[in-house]
Subunit: 339 residues, 4 copies
């Protein structure tokens, strides 16, 4: 399989490295309009075929085109690649709008091509372990999902903090809580500097009695990357800043007893043991590349397909709409596409 990477910014070199290391990849090509990025890639990966013209990739002999450019360019590049018969790998967020995502999915379906969206945390050892625990029913029913991803981070010039950071958390939530249906969403925040929100909160109500909250922030003095999943049996904390104990499962919880006398205490809490499972350390990107190539070879949807990308874009678009309307609650529509 031949792979062509478009965009060699922060993430691009990792993509080139991982595809170069994959046993089924026979050639890696890469393009960037900036000569100095090509020079950097050349010094690290002398075997890569480099070009300043992305059309050399889109029209070349790559089987898979990897798009790692600013989000505004995802749709035109991805569409051109698909129309040239290429499978595509797109960095998160998938596209800048629902409409764009739907069009790409339609083309891919029509031409039987695969779309892989790089929701990289889905291939992270901690998230895989949490999914395992959830699938075994360890937590019971999920009451709420709370996520915080805050840092003194690089400001983006083209998108606000939601489009920059929240795709990670929204994709993790969608993956872990598959089967739960977001019903409505509101988003609030503030733009202190350049007109783009640098801090935002997203609140999601589900059709089930469940609630999710996301805090994303570029201007925090401390770095926090933490999720809490409150289940009615157990609760889980995933702290990505911990070196060794990233996941903690608490055998603590709430016991709800219906009693005849309304005046008695109906809700009690219980403190129990805590358990921290070992987490696999394999690089997420390596597992992602493996899944993408396997899905192409086996002619099946990858674990993080265009549909998953669309699910996230739908929440992002609703967030923008809510932000523009003073935090108004926005209903999350169903996809017109058949998954």
């Amino acid at each position: 399989m031949k792979v062509g990477v478009i965009g060699l910014g922060y993430w691009g070199p990792n993509l080139v490295r991982n595809f170069s290391a994959h046993s089924e990849v026979t050639e890696v090509a890469a393009s960037d309009i900036r000569e100095e990025r090509l020079k950097f890639i050349r010094s690290k990966f002398p075997a890569a075929k480099l070009t300043t013209n992305y059309n050399d990739i889109i029209e070349g002999d790559s089987d898979l085109v990897v798009i790692a450019t600013p989000v505004a360019t995802h749709h035109p590049l991805a569409k051109a690649a698909l129309l040239n018969g290429k499978h595509i790998w797109v960095e998160k967020p998938f596209t800048a709008s629902i409409r764009e995502a739907e069009e790409l999915i339609e083309i891919a379906e029509r031409k039987n091509l695969k779309i892989f969206v790089d929701h990289t945390f889905i291939y992270n050892g901690a998230v895989i372990k949490i999914k395992e625990l959830l699938d075994k029913g360890e937590l019971g029913n999920i009451l709420y999902f709370d996520s915080e991803r805050i840092n003194l981070g690089l400001f983006q010039k083209d998108v606000n903090v939601i489009w920059d950071l929240a795709p990670h958390d929204l994709s993790i939530m969608s993956y872990l809580m598959k089967g739960m249906k977001p019903k409505a969403l509101s988003a609030t925040g503030i733009a202190n500097f350049n007109g783009l929100e640098n801090l935002a909160h997203i609140n999601i109500h589900f059709e089930q009695n469940c609630f999710a909250h996301f805090h994303v922030n570029w201007v925090s003095p401390v770095k926090i990357r933490r999720m809490i999943l409150g289940g009615d049996k157990k609760m889980l904390v995933y702290d990505d800043m911990e070196n060794f104990e990233k996941i903690k499962v608490y055998d603590s919880g709430i016991e709800y007893k219906s009693t005849e006398t309304i005046h008695e205490a109906l809700v009690q809490y219980r403190i129990g043991d805590m358990f921290s499972p070992k987490v696999n350390q394999t690089e997420a990107l390596a597992l992602g590349a493996k899944e993408c190539i396997a899905a192409i070879n086996e002619n099946r949807q990858p674990l993080t397909s265009g549909y998953d990308g669309l699910d996230v874009v739908r929440l992002l678009e609703a967030s923008d709409l809510s932000l523009k309307n003073m935090g108004k609650m926005i209903e999350i529509g169903d996809s017109l596409l058949v998954t």
Copy 2:
């Protein structure tokens, strides 16, 4: 000065202990309808005058009536005490509605009596130190205020988690950011058990370009009590769960440079030193009792007056309204009272 305490639940004994220890207090009376609570108080404070009838306090010879009962009873008890010519101390939240708060303030003003609202964190060493730093301008302009108070906590049967926990954080915010004017507020959350929200988020927009967010939660497996104040000069984290380094001031921040070329990076961040000031360990309640009695003696408003109580109730009432309207943004009205 004679002090009478009504309500000897969780907090009552601390009130009796602190007023008993105050040098100007010559007598402490206390009442509770539960005999076993009186017995408990008698074993600890043999000198206290005890009664099961709160009217013995309201109509007795106390100069100051301390009200530590469920919030629904604050207004009738406080009103009766004021009408009997007593100064009052009311536990947080001040009242169950704006209307109730305004009425109490009016009566007190008319009769020249003092209302002390026990926003106890205002007398906490860490909060006092933060106020000091803010007043010196250490942080510059405040861009945002973020607060988290979550725990596996006791469910209240009469109020939701906002009325239970948020008064602490809202009163701290009001005190620290005096001069900043809340313009509108939204609140979202979920009631997983008994119809009262057990998890909620409050978002506040200010007339100044500033934003505040509060997360309160009774069903978290981990206990977090943390505030972040993002300033344009420095940033501060107050972590009340830390034993020794409760306040950390980060000489880190954002530098905004307007440039002629829009395409250049306009916002940069800077990492610097961190400083953790020593915090005074005096019990907040002792300082509160001292301030209350001093205000009465000096015939002046205490630091946490009825007006401050009203400010918090106004935000609580707006939160309820927003919760009932799917997170709708609610405008915060001005007080009709003259402060």
Copy 3:
């Protein structure tokens, strides 16, 4: 049962409170030469019989005499109490020398009286839980025991840091590793101020292939109270400064494989899950008082008897000898007493 407490310094009030609360204790008497301490106790415990003369306790009608005075006075007070037919409770360390401890044990045996030594951590929920885990063989064979108890602490004027802090750790080790026999010990340290060591390290070799180390320190800027037990199956960390996860059991360890070729790696390590059991929060002193009175009633040795006190004093005396001889390794003798 009647209880008389001698010495009302830092710990004395806790003793009076716990014995006063015990259902079988009908009277608590207490003495201190300092009038202001008696006044303080009177205000808190109006029912206690107070005296400035400790002989009123020793010669009075107490069944149990509790000695909470400086260590140098333990032996004469305890001896007088035993000779007056009283059971005794002695604060740690039991005595100032092996010889003193042996004499007290002999008298108590002869007169069939009980000696309870207040190794309070043996009644702490975390230590009880660790003992449970060890007794079930969870850790396998213990390879080493490492203890750190450091703080910016109050300097004692009569004893060095080893006699002040190490009794806690030595008693915990003796209890947890019952059956392991200390063979030799060395101690090093430094006296930076008043001639008494303010920082010291104790190293113990066991007859089994096991090693223990203790760091005690009055001049540390940070407070650490941490023990590590390295087993050949699992390892355990006990961090007393943690609020919620005091014990962590690591399913990690060392695998030793004997191979024929000496040049191959013989030792490997393994990272596994971690487990943090719930710890009982009952006050240790309440459990200690209960055990002491039960042992008297049942005419049996308490869990922390004079023999246990002697075991610790033996290690303290050896530490002093080693300190005076530049850290020389001192052999730990057997007791001449029959346990």
Copy 4:
């Protein structure tokens, strides 16, 4: 300048990378007897000249020979390189004995060649910052130095845990406390597996009234890399496992007041503010390479010269002697060399 690296194990690739990136280095050669290591280096650094024969390096045209092989081979390789007129860079520990270190220093002095010993932590941003603080007298006189470097680590087959881990800590101590003279040392520990100590403690007494302690351990379930420097003005904690606040300076300490009455408290403690300075993130190895090449160019001793290597080896050799004599205190001799 041409550089030749012998030994391409764990650390070798970092050495090749850093010298390759140095602006004054025109050629990097490297050797290892293992073909697969050469293959690995070739894939990363296509420009490096590779050989399986280390004599190609020693007898080749390198100006500087970098020795990154097991410690037993340091002396023969370094001696051969010096005799061939090469400057040398030797990984820690410098040599396996004092005698070997002294011989290498003598040869280098005679032939005016430079010896750089890679005490890499001396070029670490945190250690550089601590040195700065000490040189300004921030801490006052150092009362004690305490170091802990424990982990579930790779067992070495040729050396015990002291020779593996303690060179880091001993070199940091020697550097920070330049001017303090170690007088005597004892070491204790245990070999639970293969005859080599896997856990050890080193205690050092200084001619000044100062004490140092080092705990090194391959079998700890938790990873700790922490140093405490207790000064009589301030105290400092350096925690290398912290991501952001590696250094904390505590304005806390001990106040010693001589009084006439011996019975009064003579020593008091004081709690104050804490300060955590920003630490430079430049890779230590890059700064080390720069210093080494600068020292050669300027014909001066590097910051971490053979003499510094010898200081550490002297402490390691004394530790071995003490370990073999049941923790006997060993006097630290003066160097016969003139520094």
